[in-house]
Symmetry: C2
């Protein structure tokens, strides 16, 4: 993944996610999900659902605010990064 | 985990989840999340959010229907199972 520019771009954009979701994509807090190796399509649709307020519980409010700052390309880049993190694809 | 009754109960209740989320908790379909080793607190609150219609996008509808069939104890048991699956705790 060191030679994968998309992975590097995603990692850079994901820095803001790491406070809650962990440096390695394993969240340090039980109410927050691990993102390491998560499916890219699921991550993109989750971010879109926060942005469009289709996820609305108390815990969702922080993620709504985060998603509001992201472009569609940012969502793709961040989701790509986490989908590769910790998988065999990262070692390539 | 072979000696952990909660793990066995959760596994039994999770059978219905496996069609979409994989026998091993790694989903076979990109729009569906992996559940293997996911945080228990996050899984419980996700299920509750589907049940209370605080997750409402197109993809959420299937999960709303699933969550409707679950008691609070079912949610805890299933979430416990996935939180242990694939982790060191499973090997104990």
């Amino acid at each position: 993944a060191d030679y994968d520019p998309s992975f590097k771009i995603g990692k850079e954009k994901a820095k803001v996610c790491m406070t809650c979701h962990g440096e390695d994509g394993i969240s340090t807090i039980d109410p927050y999900p691990n993102l390491r190796g998560q499916k890219m399509g699921y991550l993109i649709s989750s971010l879109k659902d926060y942005q469009s307020r289709q996820r609305t519980s108390g815990l969702a409010i922080l993620m709504q605010q985060q998603a509001d700052t992201l472009s569609e390309q940012d969502m793709k880049d961040i989701s790509y990064y986490y989908s590769v993190l910790g998988t065999k694809k990262e070692e390539e």
